[in-house]
Symmetry: C2
Subunit: 204 residues, 2 copies
């Protein structure tokens, strides 16, 4: 608020921001690292003090670098989400079979769900931590959908939004007791319901 913040570091690029003191730079990095780990473990609702503790700085330092918990969360999730989506792209590109690419994506969503609370909460609620991330994610899923559709593997009328919602809904399963062992079964069921062997039209 008081500090105009020299040239926003363009989301996660570890460029040595000119004019910032070396220890400040170190602290800033430590905070992001700690926050990412803590959010992943405990979810977005975790106490800010836990992040300060884990990164070895005081509350004042934390809030000097990030004007609000919200901002810290967003930055941390943006980085994570970008890396995650990059991996998804790479996997999809390396997979010949369109249907396998689609089910591989579902599997990645659900595997991540088991390991990163805050990240997947944002995926479940809106499709990603920021509007820009959501856009990219939608575009990626849309490409998967089109590949499957062109190959005649996907049920008629299934939309990108359907695929996003369906993968998000399955995340619910992972968190329930015993869900760790059951999500693969439900994923199979859902994917089978998406296959072109079903010719009945979908409602509305």
């Amino acid at each position: 608020m008081r500090e105009p913040r020299a040239a926003a570091p363009t989301a996660g690029a570890p460029t040595a921001t000119r004019g910032r003191r070396a220890d400040a730079e170190r602290n800033r990095a430590a905070i992001i690292t700690a926050a990412t780990a803590v959010f992943a473990e405990h979810g977005a609702e975790v106490d800010v003090r836990e992040i300060a503790r884990r990164s070895g700085v005081g509350m004042g330092t934390l809030y000097r670098h990030f004007p609000s918990k919200e901002d810290l969360l967003r930055l941390s999730l943006e980085q994570e989400f970008t890396a995650w989506l990059t991996e998804a792209h790479e996997r999809a590109a390396a997979t010949q079979d369109p249907w396998q690419a689609l089910s591989g994506f579902f599997e990645q969503v659900l595997t991540t769900q088991a390991h990163n609370r805050a990240l997947m909460d944002s995926y479940v609620q809106t499709g990603g931590p920021t509007e820009a991330c959501v856009q990219k994610c939608r575009a990626f899923i849309d490409a998967l959908r089109e590949r499957c559709e062109r190959a005649g593997l996907l049920r008629r009328g299934v939309s990108t939004e359907d695929l996003l919602s369906l993968s998000a809904s399955l995340c619910q399963v992972v968190q329930t007791p015993g869900g760790q062992h059951r999500w693969r079964r439900l994923m199979t069921i859902s994917l089978d319901g998406l296959s072109s062997r079903h010719r009945e039209p979908l409602p509305s």
Copy 2:
């Protein structure tokens, strides 16, 4: 804590508990009514003061009748859940086609999800507000499953637990923006994946 509470009223039975003053009886009923409405609207995390306000009593009165928010929530949800499951039983009994009975149950789950936050949260997390409720719910779903299986309509290897998890996972969709219009599509997809036309075995 101080008051030994004369003979627990056996979960929601509106019997005039002997020895309680008339105004106390009235207040107790008002609290349960208000709590049920408030929990349905705002979910289980709602401020207790809101329930006191809505029922027109003070905090002291509320806590005289219910030793903790947890207790009030449990009692309120037990009543709601029992009524809900009763309706489910009636519907299933009135439906000839086993598959329609199953999909009717899914539909009831998802319709309720849109109108009762706390009730469905408990369904999603554990299958019901108390162990006894969960047992009854499981038994009911198991009966639906068996009817479908016996009629040769259900995919091999689908368990009661799968059906409960799947219906709970779809609840996730209803809460997302636009989910009100999409859950029916995803429900159709999931149910189709459950049909016996799929002969591939399910994982693990």
